[in-house]
Structures are given as structure tokens and as C-alpha cells.
Amino acid sequence: MKDMIISELSQAVDELARGFAHFLPRLIVMLILVFAGWVIAYVAKIILRGILRLIKFDRLSEKAGASQLLNKAALPSATELLSRFVFWVAWLGFILLGVSVLGILGLQEQIARFFLFLPRLFVAIFILFFGMLAASFFSRAALLAAVNANVPSPRVLNLAVRSIIIVFVLSIVFEELGLAEQTMLVAFGIVFGALMLGLAIAFGFGGRDLAQRFLEKRFVRENKEENEDELSPL
């Protein structure tokens, strides 16, 4: 009986030792991958930060209006944020690669899905950034045109243009990420429709006099005294 217990125990210990001996190299490989991944991710972060500073990415982000959002959220600059993002994505990739070496069942598929998701994530960020840039540019253009044409409440126009572009960009971003595609599509339709209807009602009711003045100004050219540009600037 005693011999049997000892034999079973020693067999269990042997198996554990064998299992551990079998697992240890994988663990070491994982740790090496994690460490190498940290080094590579860190180097990538430094290089990217240098490149972004060289191409004045912060200024571009400022123009896009992204810097203002980051400041409001007490986040670091766009260059720093993107560098850190790349660092974490790269390191996480190596960590997951290391974990996959361990051969834990069920994790493999999730890791493969993560790597397939990465390109879509980058495309979504790219779309979001340039979408913000477009929203900022076109809303400012609308604001300037409205101010110089002496249109009442130019900031409403500015806000409307910005909102429409941002809603449009967000719907594309979510679609790219594959997050709640149907919900986003419906939400976009509702928001866009509501915005247009709101603007139509607002202009219809609130802007009757304005529309009348606009049409009079455009088609009845009798009242010239209001035009200060009668004074030639050149």
C-alpha cells in the first residue's frame, strides 16, 4: 500500500516535473518575447515620436481641432498620445504572441482575431483624424464666409457644418471597427435627418425675414446705399 502511494506520488511528481520541464522553455520563450517586444515597442515609440515631431504632427492636430479636445480631456499632446498608442499596441501584440506560445487552448483564436482587428483599428484612427481635420477646415470656411457675407448667427452655421461632418465621420469609423454597425447606421440616419429637419424648420420659421431680405438683395438691385464696398478697396 505504502509502495503504491509512493509510486503514485513519484509518478505525479515526475509528470509535474515533466510538464513543468515541457512548459518552462515555453514560459522562457514567452518572457523573452515580452521583453523583446517591450524593447521593440519602445524603440518604435521613440522613432515614431521623432518622425511626428519632424513633420510637426502637433500643429496638424492643432489645426484639426484635435489638440483642443485632448487638452480638455487633460490628455498629452497628439504626438505623445500616438507614440504611446503605438507602443502599447506593439507591446500587447508581443505579449499575445508570447501567450500563444504557451499553447493555452481557446486563446489562440482570440489572439488571431486581435491581429486581424489591428489594421481596421489603424484605418479607423486614420479616418477619425482626417475627418476631424475636414470638420475643422470646412466649419471654419463656413464661419468665415458667413461673417464676410454678413449672414446672421454665423456660429450656428459653423456648428451645423462641424456636427454634420463629425457625425458622418463617426459613422464611418464605427462601421470600419465593426461596432454596432446597424445601430450606428440607424443612429446616423436619425441624427442626420433630425438635423436637416431642425435646420429646415429653423430656417422656415425663424428665417422668413432673412430669406425675404436675401431674395430682395439678390434680385432687387435698387437699394445700393447699404453696400459699403461701393468704396473701392483697390
Binding site: L143, A146, V147, N150, E225, E226, L231, S232, L234
Partner: protein, 422 residues
């Protein structure tokens, strides 16, 4: 050397038929049928009268007119002019018309004229605006003779005009060109001007044509190129300026042509203007500048309102362009009533310099920077009109002089905020 492929084969053939010329008169046109016929007749008569021994050519660079403008230019018979004016020339006078594009672009028009002048080896050239409602027969000799006889490279015009006309010129272009480039040219942005073939060829060779393909303010760039190239510049008094099309010119396009072109030139010309201090007058034939003082109706209330609305609504844009102190000062005066409102020369000069520096740094889209200047210019126009409402010609001149001196005094401020080239 001219880029010969830029011209059409037909135009080149006509130029070859002309051969070399002494004098070239260029008309950049677009739907100017109303005025072009009489202008061409006046010019032809002037050539017969003042330059009978010179080989001359009239070049019409047309931007896709649909009212028969090119046909009117080439259709004016020199024989009719000879008979009418009882003059005769010893040389043939050619008139050539070419369509450089299907829509007007002043840069392409000037480039066509300069290229033709270069190919024909013209000694002296003159560009006349077809928008001039009234052109005198002595304009041609006044613009050509300093080039042809006195070895001048560029002749810019001065005019007799109302004290409140051309406010963008008197309040921005003249003071800024004078302070930065050190030359007192009254009309650096010119509709009519004379130049030597040498200067035309030099300008053709400059690398500005790709940037200024549509030619916003290319005339101003031409003047600045003459100054930076060390060319001899002089002014000639032409008389009354009466340009039909420009009378109601929109402010934003006018700002693009003047302020935009000037800000853009400052970037490339930095090595030149950063070393200039003070300013010098240029030789002038006739009067320096004449103003007439008839009262005109100006909607000052609207100017003030558009300034105040602009400052309020464009705060986010101005925050990117202006320094906090300048913006605060603008916001303060925007809230003041019409009687207390005053956009001082110092504040105006600081505003313009900060706009120029922001343009160089491209803090936002450059075109947006130029557009944002429009409401501020209206504020300055309000002050200028108010201050000079009852002013005599001398008082107006003194006020403009004071503004110029303010621009000169604040030039170190521009150098301080100008970003050094990396």
C-alpha cells in the same frame, strides 16, 4: 528664357511673323467689349504720335471672352486711326490676340504677355487694364518713355482719386511695402504699368508661376520682384483713375490679390526685407498723388457693425492668428460705440504684422487667414473714413504718412515674431 511650349502654335506663328519689336503693349482681357475698342484706338493713336519710328505690337491675352473682345482688338484698323488722327508711322503696327485659357486668370495673362515680350525681344512694354473706363492718350508715353528713353525698369502709376477710394492700397499695401521693402511706391498693386524687356525676362524666370498659377496678385509680385532685383523703379502720374469693374470689387478677392500676395512674397523675400531699414522715395514724373474731396455717402454704421460682429464671431480664428494682447484690444474697441471707436494706426500695423507672421507659420489655412482680415479691415476703414471726413488733401496725406511711419516703427516687431527659416 521663356517657356516656349506654354504658348499655342498659332500664337507662336503670329509672333514669328512679327519679328523683333521695340515696343509691346499688352491687354489682358475678359469680356471687355464695352471699352476695349476705344482703348485700342487711343493706344494706336498714341503709338503713331509718340513712337512713329519704333516697331510696335499690341498683344491681347484673352481669358475666354464670349462678347467678341479679341475680334475687337484685332479688328481696329490702323488705317482708320491714321486717317482720324492725321498721323503716319514709318513702321508696321501689329495686333495679335490669343486665348490663354477658357476662364480669366491674371497670372496666366501676364505670363503670356511677358513670354511674347521675351520672344519678340521688346525693349519697352506696357500693360493696360481694359477695365479702365477712361484712358487718356498720354498714358502710353507716360508709362513707356521712362523705360524707353530713361533706362527705367518699372514704371508704376499714380492716380488722382477720391480720398476714400483704394483704402486697401492706402491703409495696407502702400504702408507695408514701404516699411518692409524700403521703397515709397504708391501703387505697388497696379492695373497699368510700364516695364523693360529685361525686367520682364527676369520675372519670367522666377519660380513663382506654379504657386501663382491663377495669378492672385501677380502684378504686386511683379513690383516686389523689381524692388528685390535692384531694378530702377519710378512712378508716373496718369490722372484720374476710373475703373468700372473695380469700383464695386468684393473685399475678400481684393484681399487675396493684395494682402495674400504680399504675405506670400514676404516669405521668399525675407533675406531682402529683413535687412532694410527706413524708406526712400522713387523718382516721380508728375504729381505724387492727388485726391479729390467731394463728399461721398459711406455706410459707416455697417462698417462698424461688420467689424464688431467679425471680432465676436471669429474669436476662435483670431486666437490662432493674433497675440492675446492684440486680440484683447480689438475686443475692447469692438464693444465701444461709434463715437468712441478708434482702430489706431499702431493697433492696425500690429494686427497686419501678426497676420503676416501667422501666414508664414501657416497656423491655419492661409486662405482662411486672408479671409479673416476682412472684418478687421472694415474696422480700420471706419476709423480712416471718420478721421478724414472733413480733412483736406494735405490732412489725408499727413494721416497716410503717419500710418506709414507707424508701420516703419513697428517693423522690428514683425522681425521679432517672424519665424526663422529652418
Amino acid at each position: 528664357m521663356a517657356e516656349e511650349s506654354f504658348l499655342s502654335d498659332d500664337f507662336l506663328r503670329q509672333l514669328i511673323n512679327v519679328g523683333e519689336v521695340d515696343i509691346l503693349v499688352g491687354f489682358p482681357t475678359h469680356n471687355n467689349a464695352k471699352t476695349i475698342g476705344s482703348i485700342v484706338r487711343t493706344i494706336q493713336s498714341s503709338i503713331l504720335r509718340c513712337f512713329p519710328r519704333e516697331r510696335a505690337v499690341i498683344i491681347n491675352a484673352d481669358g475666354g471672352s464670349r462678347d467678341g473682345t479679341p475680334e475687337l482688338v484685332t479688328g481696329v484698323s490702323i488705317d482708320d486711326v491714321r486717317r482720324a488722327s492725321n498721323l503716319s508711322a514709318l513702321r508696321t503696327l501689329h495686333s495679335i490676340s490669343t486665348q490663354y485659357a477658357t476662364s480669366p486668370a491674371s497670372g496666366l495673362a501676364l505670363r503670356t504677355i511677358l513670354t511674347a515680350a521675351d520672344l519678340l525681344r521688346a525693349k519697352a512694354c506696357v500693360v493696360i487694364s481694359p477695365e479702365s473706363a477712361k484712358i487718356e492718350s498720354d498714358w502710353l508715353p507716360k508709362l513707356l518713355q521712362p523705360v524707353y528713353r530713361d533706362d527705367c525698369d518699372l514704371v508704376t502709376p499714380t492716380y488722382r482719386r477720391h480720398k476714400f477710394e483704394g483704402l486697401l492700397i492706402t491703409n495696407l499695401v502702400y504702408p507695408m511695402v514701404r516699411a518692409l521693402y524700403g521703397v515709397r511706391i504708391r501703387e505697388a498693386y497696379m492695373s497699368e504699368f510700364g516695364f523693360s524687356g529685361r525686367l520682364g525676362s527676369q520675372f519670367l524666370g522666377q519660380n513663382i508661376w506654379n504657386d501663382a498659377a491663377d495669378g492672385e496678385g501677380v502684378d504686386l509680385r511683379f513690383t516686389l520682384a523689381a524692388i528685390t532685383g535692384g531694378s530702377r523703379v519710378c512712378q508716373s502720374f496718369l490722372g484720374e483713375k476710373d475703373h468700372d469693374e473695380r469700383r464695386g470689387a468684393d473685399l475678400v478677392p481684393a484681399l487675396r490679390q493684395t494682402a495674400g500676395a504680399l504675405f506670400s512674397a514676404l516669405e521668399t523675400d525675407f533675406p531682402f526685407w529683413s535687412g532694410v531699414s527706413g524708406s526712400e522715395s522713387v523718382p516721380t514724373t508728375g504729381s505724387d498723388q492727388q485726391v479729390f474731396l467731394e463728399p461721398v455717402r459711406v455706410n459707416r454704421k455697417r462698417l462698424k457693425e461688420m467689424f464688431s460682429t467679425g471680432v465676436l464671431e471669429l474669436e476662435s480664428v483670431f486666437k490662432s492668428i493674433l497675440s492675446p494682447s492684440t486680440l484683447a484690444e480689438l475686443q475692447r474697441i469692438a464693444q465701444s460705440g461709434e463715437d468712441e471707436f478708434r482702430y489706431s494706426s499702431e493697433l492696425w500695423a500690429k494686427t497686419i504684422y501678426e497676420f503676416a507672421a501667422s501666414y508664414q507659420k501657416s497656423v491655419i489655412s492661409r486662405d482662411h487667414i486672408v479671409q479673416a482680415l476682412a472684418p478687421l479691415f472694415r474696422g480700420r476703414a471706419f476709423t480712416f473714413v471718420t478721421e478724414n471726413r472733413n480733412a483736406s488733401a494735405d490732412d489725408v496725406e499727413n494721416n497716410i504718412e503717419g500710418l506709414c511711419l507707424e508701420f516703419e516703427r513697428l517693423k522690428p516687431y514683425l522681425l521679432q515674431i517672424w519665424k526663422p527659416r529652418e
